[in-house]
Assembly symmetry: C3
Homo-oligomer: 285 residues x 3
Amino acid sequence: LSPTAKTITFLSDYGLDDEYAGVCHAVIARRCPQARVIDLSHGIPPGDVRVGALVLRGALPYAPAGVHLAVVDPGVGGARRAVALRAGEQLLVGPDNGLLIPAAQCLGGVREAVALDQSPERLEPVSSTFHGRDIFAPVAAALAAGVELGDVGAPLDPSSLVELGMPVARVEPEGLVAQVVHCDHFGNVILGADPLQLQEIGIRPGTRITVRAPGARGPAGRSASAAEHAATYATTFADVAEGHLLLYTDSLGMVALAVNRGSAGALLGVGRGQQLTLAPARGRA
Amino acid sequence: LSPTAKTITFLSDYGLDDEYAGVCHAVIARRCPQARVIDLSHGIPPGDVRVGALVLRGALPYAPAGVHLAVVDPGVGGARRAVALRAGEQLLVGPDNGLLIPAAQCLGGVREAVALDQSPERLEPVSSTFHGRDIFAPVAAALAAGVELGDVGAPLDPSSLVELGMPVARVEPEGLVAQVVHCDHFGNVILGADPLQLQEIGIRPGTRITVRAPGARGPAGRSASAAEHAATYATTFADVAEGHLLLYTDSLGMVALAVNRGSAGALLGVGRGQQLTLAPARGRA
Amino acid sequence: LSPTAKTITFLSDYGLDDEYAGVCHAVIARRCPQARVIDLSHGIPPGDVRVGALVLRGALPYAPAGVHLAVVDPGVGGARRAVALRAGEQLLVGPDNGLLIPAAQCLGGVREAVALDQSPERLEPVSSTFHGRDIFAPVAAALAAGVELGDVGAPLDPSSLVELGMPVARVEPEGLVAQVVHCDHFGNVILGADPLQLQEIGIRPGTRITVRAPGARGPAGRSASAAEHAATYATTFADVAEGHLLLYTDSLGMVALAVNRGSAGALLGVGRGQQLTLAPARGRA
């Protein structure tokens, strides 16, 4: 055994209630006992390739060089390919559904890619529903053990890899209309918007803003009028009073909303996929 | 320290909200710092020895040889014994409540067993409520460090080990009546039925079937009539349209129901312990 | 790389749904690849410094000597200091909000302390909302790699460290009034009371007691009368019949309530922060 096995990071939507992530760890330990595996997250919302791609892109700059295994794979067993990529000096393994691409672009772009569907490293018989165990984990372990990328699969043209549209905020007359990409464990609401877009509509650090949330449904099924919330564009939670809403740039560089010692998701009553509108507060600051 | 410590796999119902699994890791690291610990799952439903036994049996064939620590232990502190077993070349550690037996049988049957209640490896004082920390983890770590099975406890007759009845599906005139063993993170419904039993009642791959769920309670507390759902006996999720129900053999070899990009548990309105009836669809396919 | 890196234990309120704990692992692996990291718990209730402090104090006696990283940090980015401490031969790293102090006291008291806000080990730019990643994890990794405490921050007076009041039960005419500190995964209710306080009010092992819970709100918003529950002061779950309530000393030495094969939290209808009153049962035992 080589003491120089690469580190493997591991991200998935398997959750931790079931044994799926644990069985992948077991498979890796059999193929490459000396590999260190770092669980980035197994809490990607089930099947949400877009959130998986954003989290992977945000996390990898902090990870050791090595192999990066990512499985958010609602198309498992269907026509989508299983792939491994080289980006810069890093190796990425996962489904060909766009999950790996934003991270690979940050790492310098895809230089080489192989299809894993007939990989000599796969565990036979390959199940139809658990390619994490049967294809992705054993291939990641083989790469960590030093097997060459060209030896785990068949070459494919990187330009044929599936890409994923990311939600982009739009500047509208009423403000910046942005989609909720994720609502985290603390109730922080992460938006699909770039901090530069805030400048575009005149929202500056330290100023007051208005957040317009879709509003609850009325009793007769009619949509109630949207609710407006006052917030401050601040740097950190403690910049506003307890219970107050703030707009900030989160630790991954995305526009986000939080409540100091509270939950912005609960206050605004929004969840993933819904739209919010951000605008400078009217009247005196 | 020997560099050749065995791997320890670890399964429990401790969940990950509390520190119970983490403290067991700490105990293992003190007794055998060089052991690698693989968390198979800590999400077994609290006290559900049967699901724990099924998950352990399904996961161990993918794990490296070594020590397998499993704790689902509703009888902790009572009369049940704490045990360690040898099955094939593998060692299993846990409560004597049937949890370890299906896995041990898959590994070749129990060849040797010891009772751990007075183990010289236990941490004193032994608490009455946390034998994972005080007995099972330190014994597993000692075995990983190379201590002989005969030195961690007192010999016992393997035939005296508690066995657990597993739910078995029944062929009835109206179809195969099977119990929901588990409903996973993705909403997949795993049934206590063998794929061979499907053949017995004429359900063949590719054919349409009917799934009869118990049905919701009516407003006056009366049980509403059971609901019937159409499904296809398929190989993988993508074999059916989005939102459609499929019957399939899951990655552990059990009969299961899923909804492509959805939740079968939510669609059928069933949870663990409830019964479903599977039958070939009537009329033209 | 030194093979003698210290073990790092890691406790936080990050949860495991997001990538926060995973990214800290990645940061540690880059700075000190040979360090072993033991996750004690990431399930501390968000922002609950008091529960974090109790769990850390309870868990560290079982952990290997080394570095102990703990992050429950509702004041992140505000005025609170980031600190590293030596207590006995152990090193603790976290926010200066009282989280580390009860554990440090158990380990022999704080002998040396440094402020980390300008630590040479911090990752720049330091974000305003994720000091786990940018300050605490890299400092813990540097200490594990052998960097001296005095070299990761600026000396500070240990007597200036923030301490945290812990909830203490009060003896009242109607019994021992104690606060619910935590309700665990199994529904066990942990109280802020010392077992010695039970003796004070005449509750002895094996005797019957009465537990008075606050009671549900009435339909018109009025508080319904508090509910009384019979319980036994026992040693372990199996000492009472299934479904019965018991008072016991839990595995961390705290007074707790449980239901054998059930949930005391659900039975009593209480959660964290609420008060319960314990008294000897009236009438014949």
